[in-house]
């Protein structure tokens, strides 16, 4: 294991040479620091809370130069101390490491670093001098010795990485503070440009994302998290106005030869994202989709009142703008096989199959029901066809939806719109334990949906194959187990029957036609998901997979990030025969495994300014139709909301033994 020779972390000095062990610092328990990439030892690490040195021969002056150089490169220039301080300190350290006379001595550097730390506007300026200050305060004789003879210092290898809590929380690693900055700067089109570097479905994401970023947002320590999703939707919706961006093939950096083609199976968020990035890499991409429209679960699984289908279509059409082809009505296993695809000359295949087979409740006598019983996914498909005008679908009487996830919410809110006299939601745990988005639950409550929590079905009641009711039993929470988690158990004797006309089981989904796909050499794991490694490579060479079919039912943003990752792996596989080392991922691993990104409170007083909300249609009106409930915020509101971001940027760097290989980026 890598041994820290000396360093400072959160103000605690550690020096093995001077027998200062610093045992209560994370230095004792550093994980995964032995080598950065294979055979490449980590020699030192610099961060927002301090630094560690593993190899005594490391030059601090050179290491700090690389760290501050990144800060200078990333300084937004808004505030005075960071804008000038990073440049002045960088230039001074650069002179020093070259053995030249520096215009500033360490006292001057300390003064500037203090000024940056104490008076900068955002997280970058406030934290990028901490490691430097710790060095000056505790290891000053060492850096003075380094520059004493005015000899150039031998260049060191390494890399620097800037991130923020919201970026790390996002599966796609969207540079959130940057796109908010662009709104603040008055450039929403650049903001959209930042999003488009990661995925093509920004307006869709701006409507239905579950917002991991907002959970990580530090503004919540002041008042409320920044409305990151609301802002995303605002910039993406500019596409409908006079400032819409034009998608052109110039976006493709280097078009590849005709034979360089890849098949993407499934036009859902994972497939669309993978196709998009492959197209940008220069490949020729055909997308095979069993439905007659693109979007996958975003098309059939998310009702129109949350995601209008023209919005989705505008974004999936980007694939066509970039020269990709959709082949609709093409189902893997039924219309073609993976063998066929390789025979037709595709260099690689991406499986973005999704989890489109609904799970039934598994109750006795449920097979006898022929009418009024649906899985969530089948039900949403019927809703989709209804809204599309393909098949009219009406409900009446009491409708019961079982489940507590977003699909359950979509089902129950759609049931109201389809004419259900009463819509009920049955969930076995408590309301707070529902996996659905809190906002979705709140909106459903506004639409007069009856919630029955701590309650689960035990029997389906039918007459002549037609549902007439459902038997339910009350549940109670058990005492917390060792991990603190409470379970639920039925309360005997509380069984009761609820009369209803329709039951919808929204309790889970799995990959369709697993046997046939397995026959093509694609392994499934014991969760019945496609087996894929970190690089999304499956058991069959040349076949990659991502999205729900690998993870089980998950979120749009996870699927889109999988599409990006798979595209990178496919490109590497075609060009180099193997997925390559990706240095930014490795850096993230270090930061996340060691929990370096402190989720610390905001101690400086900040003026409260609560977030803006998307205007919404009145619940009494919207209950009757499928038009979009939430509207885009105004430009004024977007400016106001963007002001709330505190830019919690943090900088990390490593010094390594050898140069770090350049991976996909």
């Amino acid at each position: 294991m890598a041994q820290v020779v000396y360093g400072v972390w959160d103000g605690v000095v550690h020096d093995a040479r001077r027998n200062l062990p610093g045992t209560d610092t994370p230095l004792a328990a550093l994980r995964n620091f032995d080598e950065f990439d294979e055979g490449n030892a980590v020699r030192a690490f610099f961060a927002d809370r301090g630094f560690f040195v593993f190899d005594e021969s490391v030059s601090l002056v050179d290491g700090l130069f690389h760290y501050i150089n990144k800060a200078a490169e990333q300084s937004c220039g808004a505030c005075t101390p960071c804008r000038m301080g990073t440049v002045l300190i960088r230039d001074a350290l650069d002179k020093m490491r070259r053995g030249l006379d520096s215009p500033l001595d360490f006292d001057d550097i300390e003064m500037l670093a203090d000024q940056m730390k104490e008076t900068s506007l955002c997280g970058l300026g406030q934290t990028c001098c901490i490691a430097l200050l710790e060095v000056i305060h505790h290891f000053r004789e060492q850096i003075e010795k380094e520059v004493a003879d005015h000899m150039p210092i031998r260049a060191q290898h390494g890399m620097a990485y800037m991130t923020a809590p919201c970026i790390e929380a996002c599966p796609s690693k969207v540079n959130v503070p940057r796109y908010i900055d662009y709104i603040r700067d008055g450039k929403p089109e650049n903001s959209l440009g930042v999003l488009l570097q990661k995925y093509p479905m920004a307006a869709t994401c701006g409507r239905v994302c579950v917002r991991y970023c907002e959970q990580a947002c530090r503004r919540k320590f002041v008042d409320e998290a920044v409305g990151i999703k609301t802002l995303k939707r605002f910039v993406a919706d500019q596409q409908k106005g006079p400032h819409a961006l034009k998608f052109t093939r110039e976006m493709i950096q280097k078009p590849l030869a005709d034979g360089m083609k890849v098949a993407v199976i499934g036009a859902g968020p994972a497939g669309i994202s993978c196709a998009y990035h492959l197209l940008l890499h220069g490949y020729h991409v055909d997308v095979f989709e069993k439905q007659d429209k693109a979007g996958g679960m975003a098309q059939i699984g998310i009702p129109n009142y949350r995601l209008p289908k023209d919005t989705l279509a505008m974004e999936t059409d980007i694939i066509v703008d970039l020269g990709g082809r959709f082949l609709f009505g093409q189902q893997l296993g039924a219309d073609f096989t993976i063998d066929d695809l390789f025979q037709r000359g595709y260099k690689a295949v991406f499986l973005g199959l999704g989890c489109q087979e609904g799970t039934m409740l598994g109750l006795k006598n449920e097979e006898q029901v022929r009418e009024g019983y649906f899985t969530g996914i089948d039900f949403l498909l019927k809703v989709h066809d209804h809204v599309d005008g393909i098949n009219t679908f009406q409900l009446k009487g009491d409708v019961v939806v079982v489940g507590g996830g977003n699909v359950a919410m979509d089902c129950v809110r759609s049931a109201v719109r389809l004419g259900a006299d009463n819509a009920h939601l049955i969930y076995r745990r408590t309301r707070d334990a529902m996996p659905a988005d809190t906002e979705e639950v709140e909106e459903a409550e506004k639409e007069d949906i009856d919630f029955h929590t701590l309650c689960t079905p035990t029997r389906i009641i039918s007459e002549n194959g037609k549902i007439t009711g459902i038997e339910l039993v009350e549940m109670e929470e058990t005492e917390p187990d060792e991990s603190g988690r409470r379970s639920v158990r039925p309360i005997p004797g509380t069984e009761h029957v609820m009369a209803c006309s329709t039951v919808i089981a929204a309790i889970g989904q799995q990959v369709e036609s697993q046997e046939r796909i397995a026959e093509e050499g694609i392994d499934f794991n014991h969760w019945k998901c496609v087996e894929a490694d970190k690089s999304l490579t499956t058991s069959r060479p040349g076949v990659f997979a991502g999205g729900d079919c690998v993870t089980g039912p998950s979120t749009l943003i996870y699927a889109m990030s999988a599409g990006l990752k798979a595209a990178r792996s496919i490109d590497d596989w075609i060009q180099f025969g193997t997925p390559r080392f990706f240095k930014r991922s490795r850096m993230r691993e270090l930061i996340n495994e060691n929990a370096f990104l402190a989720n610390d409170a905001v101690e400086t007083p900040v003026r409260n300014g609560y977030r803006v909300h998307n205007p919404a249609l009145d619940p009494d009106l919207r209950k009757k139709m499928f038009s979009e409930v939430e509207q885009t915020i105004s430009l004024e509101d977007a400016y106001t909301e963007a002001q709330r971001c505190m830019r919690c940027y943090r900088l990390y760097s490593v010094i390594t033994k050898h140069s770090i290989p350049e991976g996909a980026a």
């Binding site: 900068s120 955002c122 700067d185 003026r607």
Partner: protein, 619 residues
């Protein structure tokens, strides 16, 4: 960075100030969520500031000069914070001048100077600069970090006909962005670039024909330094004045005479009409005319035009005197251009008549006349350059000087306005004016002037009460119903000033929500008395508006003739030269047309990607 809504503490009930804190050991009471700076100011405690501008509720927290040292219960030990955007807390102690706070304030200004072009003597703000002031206030004595190359690498945008944006002198306070975005509602300015390359830029394009800037110049009024300013054309004016073969004609706008004396230490709102005339003569101007005279002519033309439109049932009609408003209509709402009056602005009417009528009357070669106009406006420079307002490459108005340039011109000529003996107009053809023309310089003035004359035309008699107080006021949009009598009857009029409110009104007109017959628009809040070319204030926005307004109404009260049509020189102009308002000749000389200048500003994703900085570029 986190101010989200405008909060005005002035005039609030002191009982609501419930937060107790100490500033410099003095007990202070603050309102909840109030900033330290605001609280300090209410308690008469000074903190040096730079980027902040209270009058427009602007606290971007970017200069970081206003740092103070605080202690409070949520944090161990003292903290340094910016007072402009840090809220007070119960029991907080604040030290605005501890050694550490003072050192950091001083170092901050020194760092601001590091990439700021410091050729102060060549700067248009020399001696009137907020950065120079703040350097003095923090006691700056050294300038260790100045890097001339860095300063000079910053861009200077000289593409506009009216403005220069010298980013070498910009301190990135973003006041210009705020006034343009939040107050004028144009949103033409964006922040661009990162690090030292961070600059204020024009949205989409610097090409003046393609961007959406309307040259209202409000950004210049709030700029703390010499970064924003008008295109300086003093030397061009001097070239004409000093050329013996050229007959120079000067005109100056209604508002100039009431918004100029301050520059020379006279009380705000002093009427310096006579001083300006005398100064012009002293520097060698051949003929001094009055834009007010042309304002009376405009009323004759526009009033007649309006009556014609009312008879045809065409409405509403928008005024056309304000060039920033014309720029706005042409680039933002070209569909409403047919609703604009075709009458030229007073500046252009005067220039045209000076080059047609005056030569006949005074026996001067028309091609030897050069018109220099002095305007509280920078958009007038755009107007003078309009292709519609000149012939064969010769513009009707040759040079437009803003009030600020005129002040500098007088200094260059060694003239102190305060000590000069006032004179008066002496041109028998084009210098008399009515009270109606005088009030053109303030919001509501053009409307009032028009009503005075139209009423008379319709009814054959004058209004009983000339001063139409229902048209006066300072709200952004005002409306009134005026009974014009006769076949016209009651008309609904509206007056709007400031482009933020103008946009709202135009949207209402386009949607059919608003039903007006006649709408007066002035792009600058307050009208021309606070135009984008008028004198600058420091750390304040429009502080002298009311004094200037009052004087302009007093000018009206003191004139012998208070209706445009009763101006004897105007009557002579029509009798001897133009025949009648809206005659064929008048139409040819005094009316103009507008063009759709809206541009398709769609970008490709590729262009945007090339323009992105600081994000993780993938390919």
């Amino acid at each position: 960075m986190c101010t989200t809504e405008p909060i005005s503490y002035a005039g609030r009930d002191p009982a609501e100030a419930t937060i107790k804190l100490q500033i410099n050991n003095k007990q202070c009471m603050a309102f909840p969520n109030e900033t330290i700076l605001s609280c300090a100011r209410r308690h008469d405690i000074y903190i040096p500031t730079l980027c902040e501008l209270d009058d427009i509720d602007h606290t971007p927290g970017t200069c970081r000069v206003c740092v103070v040292e605080i202690t409070h219960s949520k944090h161990n030990g003292a903290q340094i914070v910016t007072s402009c955007n840090t809220p007070v807390r119960e029991g907080m102690t604040v030290q605005t001048r501890s050694k550490k706070a003072r050192d950091m304030q001083k170092l901050q200004v020194e760092l601001l100077m590091a990439d700021h072009l410091q050729d102060c003597a060549t700067c248009i703000r020399h001696g009137d600069c907020e950065l120079q002031d703040v350097a003095q206030y923090v006691g700056l004595t050294e300038n260790r970090f100045f890097d001339r190359l860095l300063a000079e690498s910053r861009p200077v945008d000289e593409a506009s006909t009216s403005m220069i944006r010298d980013m070498r002198r910009c301190i990135r306070c973003q006041r210009c962005v705020a006034i343009c975005r939040d107050h004028q509602g144009i949103d033409a300015l964006v922040m661009e670039g990162t690090g030292n390359n961070r600059v204020v830029a024009l949205r989409d394009s610097t090409d003046p024909m393609s961007n959406i800037c309307v040259s209202c110049g409000q950004c210049v009024l709030v700029c703390p330094t010499g970064a924003l300013g008008e295109r300086d054309e003093i030397d061009k004016a001097l070239d004409y004045i000093c050329d013996p073969d050229i007959t120079t004609v000067v005109q100056f706008a209604p508002a100039v005479r009431v918004a100029f004396g301050e520059e020379f230490g006279m009380p705000a709102g002093t009427n310096v009409e006579g001083h300006v005339i005398a100064a012009c003569r002293k520097i060698g101007v051949d003929i001094v005319l009055d834009t007010n005279f042309a304002a009376d002519v405009v009323i004759m033309e526009e009033g007649t035009e309006l009556l014609g439109r009312l008879k045809e049932g065409r409405k509403p009609t928008f005024t056309s005197c304000c060039p920033a408003w014309i720029n706005f209509a042409e680039t933002h709402y070209p569909d409403i251009l047919p609703l604009l009056s075709s009458t030229k602005s007073p500046q252009q009417v005067l220039s045209t008549i000076a080059k047609t009528y005056l030569p006949e009357k005074q026996d001067i070669a028309a091609d030897k006349i050069r018109v220099i106009s002095i305007m509280p406006c920078i958009a007038k420079k755009d107007e003078a350059a309009r292709p519609q307002l000149g012939e064969a490459g010769k513009q009707d108005t040759d040079v437009v000087l803003t009030t600020r340039e005129f002040a500098r011109l007088l200094r260059r000529e060694g003239i102190d306005l305060k000590t000069i003996k006032p004179s008066s107009f002496d041109n028998p053809y084009m210098s008399e004016y009515s009270g109606a023309a005088a009030i053109f310089g303030t919001t509501g003035g053009v409307m009032e002037a028009a009503v005075r004359t139209i009423y008379s035309v319709v009814n054959g008699k004058e209004l009983d009460k000339v001063e139409l107080t229902q048209l006066r006021g300072f709200e952004g949009v005002r409306e009134a119903t005026v009974d014009l009598g006769g076949p016209i009857g009651a008309v609904k009029v509206a007056m709007v000033h400031g482009l933020g409110d103008t946009r709202k009104l135009v949207e209402m007109v386009r949607s059919g929500e608003a039903d007006y017959d006649f709408i007066e628009v002035m792009a600058c809040p307050g009208g021309c008395v606070d135009g984008g070319g008028s004198l600058r204030s420091k750390k304040a926005y429009l502080p002298l508006a009311m004094a200037r307004r009052e004087t302009i109404y007093n000018v009206d009260r003191k004139t012998n003739v208070r209706q445009s049509h009763k101006n004897m020189q105007v009557q002579a102009l029509y009798r001897d030269f133009l025949q009648a308002p809206n005659s064929e000749k008048a139409h040819h000389l005094l009316h103009t047309h507008y063009e759709d200048r809206r541009k398709d500003l769609r970008h490709t994703v590729k262009e945007i990607w090339d323009n992105l900085s600081m994000s993780s570029v993938l390919y």
